[in-house]
Symmetry: C2
Subunit: 427 residues, 2 copies
């Protein structure tokens, strides 16, 4: 269903969204912590009050999705029920309770001439979010933007447009209740795909940053077409490396959790790497535990020699984010072999070493070039909540601006404040 | 002069540069602080030893530039003499002496489950630099990249290619002396303009960041064509605002310095804004002082009423980075009028307030949305050296990754190191 199709109107509609977002950003930038927190709590209140309407609108999306025969996984991501809606509301309250990142002094110092310097966190401006299916992203993205003093322009998936509109309406009531501009959170109210292209063009220098959240095709399109900075979440091709000095029981518990706690999250381990000294003794136990949980193992030649019943892994298995109960197994020569495997196949997301050898752990944590490097814990800790960020808008796999979980504090830039007493600069 | 013209060769040549830069970046990333400092000191030694050769190669560029009738300003930027070459060498030594940003722990904390988190600065990878005329940028960019553990690919202006090649040769000797890869600093050894397009495309995902340094046309082309992140320095349209509670003598000294210390730098003030209460008494003195120094004033209607001999300023004057002894003058209603003028015409670079009223100063420093906000000091402090960064590669006017002066520490990203004792994540 396309709500707007006339391209001339679309251009005007999108330009207006950009202009009003920029104006709203100028108000949000100076809003007090208290006002922003009150807005977020009011949004939570309205999500709760409007839960029946949100659920009804979601039902319309679900019916349309079933007609289109979307996969069960997609349907599950799209579905809202009362518990999920209350979760959205409590998420908003949790963001309200977080410290305000804006105005925080990152650093201050005095130069010999007496000039005082402060590096202070400030909002970015206008953030464009492009996302798929999950309607809760509408609330998360809107709330994190407001918390960090930014305006946002949201473009959800066409399959969730009714759910998104309903959630968006509750958020806007919250903004209005505290006197913040309703245009601080705007939802692009059309499923016309050209709207995405316009948003990626920056809407006439009004949008400062694009955050895409979705599958590979979406990210690829955004990276190809964006004319403004992008904070992208590519994929999580995560590794757990069992070093020869690993504690067997920790290794088994950690790898089981890293793979099987949830197989569809980006922090789930796709490949386990094992040192040869320990492979013969640990791989059979690991295989038994994971197989009994419904996980399929795919091994390299050496792993298949140890357990001949394992499926052989292809080269492409090691390069695949399975997001499914499938675990690749490779026997590496040593820690350098593990680092090489990760450098070749990893996505720079999250990689872990399991060892009791502190020196090996330090080497791994310093040499593996990933956003999140872990010693003796599950890769499934790759999550903003587990970092203490309260909520996240995604996990950035690029290397500029923000890397790893992106919370409210990462949706800021900074400025320098210099305080003098009449200093002039010598020739 | 084009050194390479066959496009097929150019593609292969550039792809090879990207591959070898990426490989070098993997070595640089893990190089010790000591090795990097030794490399930088060795580069300084070779710049000094090779000074006659560098000067001779620069002379070739100067002769070609004179034939092309480049402007005196361009010729001055291009010219090297012994003193300037020794300055390049001492700049390298100063960068060697700076603290190593890589490995610095920005933050660490422990979560309730006992997981220990550290946020650690790491290199970005491969940095592409595109710059014009000044040959010293070859050394500055190469040195700041090495200091921050990055490899770099340098593309200088065609008018300075012989100077850049000579300086580059000395830098490479320094890398080789300490066993770092010669390809850690590569100079694109062709003036073929297609090389820029290939670099902006990222050379097959090997280049992580582009930093352009030059005029408006260069920056515009980079922002249009780049398919990878850009750290751009646009223009410095800086303001000094004389608040009604300003100290007269400070105001005169600061504005004189902010405009006239050097008129060609990005931190020079282009427009002075004055409160009406103080305009009648201070503008005549300001006009006399600046006029006697050869500065032309261009005023808005109210300023021209106070001093009828001032040239009237056009709308476009207020939007122009003069980079010349020309000062726009506008009388604003009050601090909000000053903030509105800056929001309308400024470039988000550097803006100052001159006042003895602390509340007005705080309001200005918090509300003006510029990278550098100054109270009672000259806008010409907009310089990495004056911030204590030791050296800068430019002043970023964008809002993502780095803002304001870009020194070695801003050429880094970060990663999270998590240290556990077997933690797994609950369902």
């Amino acid at each position: 269903m396309t709500l707007m199709t006339d391209p001339q109107n679309l251009n005007a509609y999108m330009a207006d969204i950009g202009r009003s977002a920029k104006a709203a950003a100028n108000e949000l930038r100076l809003a007090s912590s208290d006002t922003k927190a009150k807005a977020l709590n009011a949004m939570a209140k309205y999500i709760h009050e409007d839960r029946a309407f949100i659920e009804a609108e979601n039902l319309r999306d679900m019916q349309a999705a079933r007609k289109k025969a979307l996969s069960e996984a997609m349907l599950d991501r799209l579905a809202l029920n009362e518990a999920r809606i209350e979760n959205i509301a409590s998420g908003l309250k949790a963001i309200a309770a977080l410290p305000d990142p804006v105005g925080a002094v990152e650093k201050d110092w005095v130069q010999p001439n007496g000039l005082k310097f402060s590096k202070v966190k400030t909002p970015i401006g206008v953030i464009g979010m492009i996302y798929e299916s999950r309607p809760n992203v509408t609330a998360d993205a809107g709330a994190l933007s407001v918390k960090s003093g930014n305006a946002c322009v949201l473009r959800g998936g066409s399959e969730s447009i009714n759910s998104n509109r309903a959630i968006h309406a509750s958020l806007v009531k919250g903004l209005e209740e505290v006197g913040l501009p309703a245009t601080a959170i705007q939802l692009i109210n059309t499923t016309d795909r050209d709207a995405v292209g316009l948003l990626l063009g920056g809407l006439g220098n009004t949008v400062d940053l694009i955050i895409p959240r979705g599958g590979k095709n979406l990210i690829a399109r955004v990276q190809k077409d964006a004319r403004i900075p992008v904070l992208a979440h590519l994929e999580g091709l995560c590794h757990s490396y069992i070093h020869h000095a690993a504690d067997r029981s920790k290794a088994l518990d950690i790898v089981e959790n890293a793979k099987m706690r949830r197989t569809g999250v980006c922090g789930s381990t796709e490949t386990v790497l094992i040192d040869p000294e320990i492979a013969g003794s640990i791989l059979p136990d690991l295989s038994n535990r994971l197989t009994s949980l419904g996980c399929e193992l795919r091994g390299d030649v050496q792993a298949c020699r140890i357990i001949p019943t394992i499926e052989p892994a292809s080269e492409s298995d090691f390069a695949t984010e399975h997001l499914a109960p499938i675990l690749n197994v490779a026997i590496v020569n040593n820690i350098d072999g593990a680092l090489q495997h990760i450098a070749k196949y990893g996505s720079g997301h999250t990689d872990a070493i399991i060892t009791e050898d502190a020196k090996a752990a330090d080497k791994f944590l310093s040499e593996v070039d990933s956003a999140i490097c872990i010693h003796n814990a599950s890769t499934q800790f790759a999550d903003g909540g587990e970092f203490g960020f309260g909520a996240e808008i995604g996990i950035a796999t690029g290397r500029l601006h923000a890397r790893g979980p992106v919370g409210a504090e990462h949706l800021t830039t900074y400025k320098y404040q210099l305080r003098g007493t009449g200093q002039i600069r010598p020739k």
